[in-house]
């Protein structure tokens, strides 16, 4: 199977003589249990990981039928949700900004499969699936996109401003969330919590100065902070090769070890996250860089067709040969874990779950005018008034 990454990733780095494998279906079955209540033993492709100053995770891993089906259902649901957002945007019901993660589902769902409930994630604007996986709801996400009261920020945020108690957004300024993540990790360490913060950014943000400021502080203070570069190969409309002098993002932490991961194979993602968690929490080895090599099918945002800086053929080839959902579907069918019929049923369930959430979100009212003036300052400590457009609109607290 031709790997796009093979063409794109430079080969000059000696320890990465071969490019990272980004196929979604190269994991082999090693051992089938007698019944599926026991885990399967599978072996990941040997090019699923590249390490920088660290060993790579075990390639032989165990995974249960339940886990496989849950991950499949979640990825399918996340894709359906993003497709629903796409349709709502095109129907002019969602206004403003909207960045979709179609194609990158293995990262959000795979990460959730590998981390603990109390760990933290903070990411940038391609955040919808994370918000749901971290305890939010589809209705809450769609409601936020629509700007309704049912939205997770009560309709006051929008696409990139969605939060849960363990998910710190949803941040719109490229790279600004990374030092905030270092602060979260510091607090976890200070409060002696056995948890880790995953501070995520894209290949585009990886060239922001403050990302390196955060690297330095995290390594200096040995913080339980895993920096996660979601490399979808294009920072807005500029390819990684055109923007970055070093596209091996997992090697950019200087003294911070790094791990490059096939971000299209959900099992590899899950194993990498488990590895990182063990690194930062159980072994207290400080920060680690993870790079998930992935791909977005759509444009950067809704106003970008996504075909001016890459060919339609390239997108089509990724969709047809390296799709994370299709890859997992193939494992499940080939390994005899579930039938095509059963998977079709999961697809249907995902669709109806999303459809119902969309209807509920659409039915939710828009925020009240008075809510425009709340949550600016802590209630009771605000200035006496704030201005509106007209004199009559000046709001007095």
């Amino acid at each position: 199977m031709a790997s796009l990454a093979r063409l794109r990733l430079p080969r000059r780095v000696p320890f990465a003589v071969r490019a990272i494998q980004t196929s979604a279906d190269t994991t082999e079955l090693r051992h089938t249990p007698e019944d599926f209540s026991k885990p399967l033993t599978v072996k990941l492709h040997e090019e699923s990981f590249h390490g920088y100053k660290c060993d790579i995770p075990e390639l032989e891993v165990q995974v249960t039928k339940d886990e496989l089906l849950t991950m499949y259902k979640q990825m399918q649901t996340m894709r359906r949700m993003e497709m629903a957002a796409d349709a709502l945007y095109k129907a002019k019901l969602i206004r403003g900004f909207c960045h979709l993660a179609i194609g990158q589902e293995a990262v959000s769902v795979g990460m959730e499969a590998g981390i603990q409930r109390e760990d933290f994630i903070i990411t940038a604007y391609r955040c919808h699936p994370f918000a749901v996986m971290r305890g939010g709801t589809i209705k809450g996400v769609i409601g936020e996109l629509l700007g309704r009261q049912a939205g997770m920020s009560n309709g006051k945020g929008g696409s990139m401003h969605i939060f849960t108690p363990t998910f710190f957004g949803g941040n719109g300024i490229v790279g600004a969330q990374v030092p905030v993540g270092a602060g979260l990790a510091f607090a976890q360490k200070y409060q002696e919590k056995k948890n880790v913060t995953f501070a995520m950014y894209g290949d585009g943000a990886s060239n922001q100065g403050q990302v390196f400021e955060a690297f330095n502080m995290a390594k200096l203070w040995n913080l339980p902070c895993v920096f996660v570069c979601e490399n979808n190969k294009y920072g807005m409309g500029t390819s990684a090769e055109r923007s970055s002098s070093n596209t091996e993002y997992f090697t950019r932490g200087d003294k911070i070890p790094g791990l490059q991961v096939n971000g299209m194979d959900i099992i590899a993602v899950r194993e990498a996250v488990k590895y990182a968690r063990k690194w930062a929490v159980d072994e207290s080895k400080g920060p680690l860089l993870l790079e998930f090599v992935t791909y977005r099918y759509g444009g950067h945002s809704m106003s970008d067709p996504g075909t001016t800086y890459r060919t339609r053929e390239e997108v089509q080839r990724m969709r047809s040969t390296q799709d994370p959902i299709r890859g997992l579907q193939r494992y499940i069918e080939e390994w005899g874990v579930a039938s095509e019929q059963e998977l079709k049923q999961l697809d249907k369930d995902a669709k109806s779950e999303v459809d119902q959430a969309v209807e509920e979100a659409k039915a939710s009212p828009e925020p009240l005018t008075k809510d425009l003036w709340t949550d600016i300052y802590y209630n009771g400590t605000q200035p006496p008034y704030m201005r509106g457009r007209e004199r009559e609109e000046v709001h007095h607290y």
Partner: protein, 427 residues
């Protein structure tokens, strides 16, 4: 940013005391004007310190009776940096409740979640404001950061979001610009854009501001005006040791992110008797320092003392400039107001005053164009239009960069304030 280390502010008093003289004769020792050291606005007795207007005592045992205002309380002679440090000691024992929100209903004796960090703070910082704190509270709670302003504020937001009381220091206000995005986009908007789920209310960013007379381009700026439109933030500038301690404690405990700008020339030159108990002064509230009826002078930070000097000069002009001060205006009663909070600013106190006096002079060190005075002047002329007897006058730094050789001419001094008062009074 070549000069990271601060020079001793040895010429501080002289800087405040000079005026635009064209003579070649050196000024008399102590300068032509009363200096900060002799300012009548400083509270140098225990009695006057304990009676500072609107002082709010935060007693350790909130269940017990609040001690009477004066009885049993002590003061100690402190300059501004000592008062700031004293506040952080209390800030280190601030009043975060268990849910992480900062309500001051219960004052905890010790808040393990309060941390102080910034460039060189663990050995005291360049202005000595954090001296001894690391030894007293441990290096886990008072620590140096790399030279990484954007990172410091971002890091502080993350800490604050976890319920910590994060007291960050940006070494000079001139270095706050790399962190502008984190303050304006992240700290100020966190509460709003998360629908109230998160906030950076626990964050206080302390930073030395304004000129000392020889700081030059990157050590003399006053960036408060740039933050004035950032709803969600608060911006506070104290004028004296008592003000610094009371306002900083209020800022640390305010459940909103606060940028606290400390006029660096006052760190050593302003000395008061400061109550040693825990107390706060209100944010968003101006203080009328001198009551008057004919003209309002509004300022904050260092220029408070230039304005005080100008008031004296108006009443008793020195012979060399007496011809420029018509005798008709010498008896004018000038009202002097210290704005203290730039965001939100105390519109009510200012407009109430201007409605009485009919005249307003605004004095600040930042440049005039779109400085804080522009916003204040616009709002005052709207609210007091029919009461104004003269246009609102602004006395500010020039719009040029603050060149080191010309710094003394850049800062609004007593002579320029005097000139503006005369012009406004005789309009």
């Amino acid at each position: 940013m070549y000069a990271r280390s601060a020079r001793p502010l040895r010429r501080a008093a002289n800087v405040l005391a000079r005026f635009n003289s064209t003579t070649v004769e050196p000024p008399p020792a102590g300068g032509h004007l009363p200096s900060v050291a002799t300012s009548q606005l400083l509270r140098t007795t225990r009695e006057s310190a304990l009676r500072a207007p609107r002082i709010k005592w935060i007693d350790e045992d909130s269940t017990g009776p609040v001690k009477p205002v004066v009885g049993g309380r002590e003061t100690r002679k402190m300059n501004t940096y000592q008062a700031v440090r004293d506040a952080m000691r209390y800030g280190g024992e601030s009043c975060l409740n268990s849910s992480g929100s900062k309500k001051c209903s219960i004052v905890l004796l010790k808040d393990d979640n309060a941390v102080v960090f910034g460039e060189d703070v663990s050995f005291g910082g360049v202005f000595r404001c954090t001296m001894g704190l690391a030894e007293e509270f441990g290096r886990e709670r008072v620590f140096n950061t790399p030279l990484t302003e954007q990172g410091i504020v971002g890091f502080g937001i993350g800490l604050a979001a976890m319920g910590h009381t994060a007291i960050a220091e940006i070494q000079f206000a001139d270095y706050i610009y790399p962190a502008f995005d984190q303050l304006v986009n992240e700290a100020a908007k966190f509460r709003y854009r998360s629908g109230g789920a998160y906030n950076a209310g626990g964050l206080t960013v302390r930073t030395p501001t304004m000129a000392v007379g020889h700081g030059g381009l990157y050590h003399s700026q006053s960036p408060e005006g740039f933050f004035m439109g950032a709803a969600g933030l608060k911006v506070v500038i104290p004028r004296s040791p008592i003000q610094a301690k009371g306002l900083l404690l209020a800022a640390i405990r305010d459940p909103n992110p606060v940028v606290f700008m400390e006029p660096k020339v006052l760190y050593r030159s302003a000395v008061e008797q400061v109550p040693i108990d825990d107390f706060e002064l209100p944010l968003g509230s101006a203080e009328t320092l001198v009551a008057g009826a004919d003209l309002t002078v509004l300022t904050w930070g260092t220029p408070v003392y230039h304005c005080e000097a100008a008031l004296h000069m108006l009443a008793n002009p020195p012979p060399s400039i007496a011809t420029h001060v018509p005798s008709a205006v010498r008896g004018a009663k000038i009202e002097l107001i210290d704005l203290r909070s730039i965001l939100p600013w105390d519109v009510e106190t200012v407009t109430e005053s201007v409605k009485r006096t009919g005249r307003l002079v605004i004095v600040h060190e930042a440049g005039m164009t779109a400085g804080a005075g522009a916003e204040i002047a616009a709002e005052v002329q709207k609210r007091c239009f029919l009461k104004l007897n003269a246009p609102v006058k602004r006395v500010t730094g020039w719009d040029t960069p603050c060149g080191m050789q010309y710094e003394k001419f850049n800062i609004p001094d007593a002579i320029r304030v005097l000139d503006a008062m005369v012009e406004t009074l005789s309009y």
